[in-house]
């Protein structure tokens, strides 16, 4: 079965640079979530989109922004990167709001900020 696709899988950036992470949800899933997982930590919710509209917002820094496109893929844009942004970034997708709400996670993007 098709899964959530994330790219790139690994990304190395310098402080103050920008980064863009991409997420392609499971086919027919219309809801996308972004999570950040620091070393030894549990995943922390950042932001979610349903039908291309922002649905919920968690602990996302103002330096980060995200959007969902007409084909339902999503991008997380991160600016003025800091050392503390080094983490695994996961995207998850689910089918709508009234149907199955199980979130299926992608393999993640490992971001290293030097």
């Amino acid at each position: 079965a098709a899964g959530v696709i994330q790219s790139p899988r690994h990304l190395i950036k310098e402080k103050r640079e920008t980064a863009t992470l991409k997420c392609y949800p499971i086919p027919r899933h219309d809801t996308v979530y972004w999570y950040q997982q620091g070393p030894g930590q549990d995943p922390q919710f950042l932001i979610s989109f349903y039908e291309k509209m922002q649905s919920d917002k968690g602990s996302i820094p103002d330096r980060f922004s995200a959007q969902q496109f007409s084909d339902y893929h999503s991008e997380l844009n991160m600016s003025s990167l800091e050392l503390g942004d080094s983490a695994l970034y996961f995207c998850a997708s689910s089918l709508g709001l009234a149907g199955s709400d199980t979130q299926y996670f992608g393999p993640g993007t490992r971001l290293t900020v030097l």
Binding site: V4, T31, Y33, Y35, Q41, D42, P43, Q44, F45, L46, I47, S48, F49, Y50, S55, D56, G58, L88, F90, S94, L97, D101, T102, Q103, Y104, F105, G106, P107, G108, R110
Partner: protein, 111 residues
């Protein structure tokens, strides 16, 4: 504020030695409780969703149960390949709300 507490933080078992992992929670309105398995450096892998007290679900050597205050993940006769971090998460809001995760239980099954 929703809270999820998992115990123990780490558990080491011999192959075939059954045990249970605990997830205690406080939430204003539970929409669903989820169990995930996570291997190092990989994304959480969905295991179970439980919606109401008294519900039970099974998959191979795993069985998840739910009460009004906690959930248990029972593992029967585990094998080394069951070694992973097991995460419990809550969905307490409406719409596309993010999950609130516990810190996880790091499970090691020794052959």
């Amino acid at each position: 504020e929703d809270q999820v507490t998992q115990s123990p933080e780490a558990l080491r078992l011999q192959e075939g030695e059954s045990s249970s992992l605990n997830c205690s929670y406080t939430v204003s309105g539970l929409r669903g409780l989820f169990w995930y398995r996570q291997d190092p450096g990989k994304g959480p892998e969905f295991l179970f969703t439980l919606y109401s007290a008294g519900e039970e679900k099974e998959k191979e050597r795993l069985k998840a149960t739910l009460t009004k205050k906690e959930s248990f993940l029972h593992i029967t006769a585990p094998k080394p390949e069951d070694s992973a971090t097991y995460l419990c998460a809550l969905d307490s809001g409406g719409g596309a709300d993010g999950l609130t995760f516990g810190k996880g239980t790091h499970l090691i099954i020794q052959p």
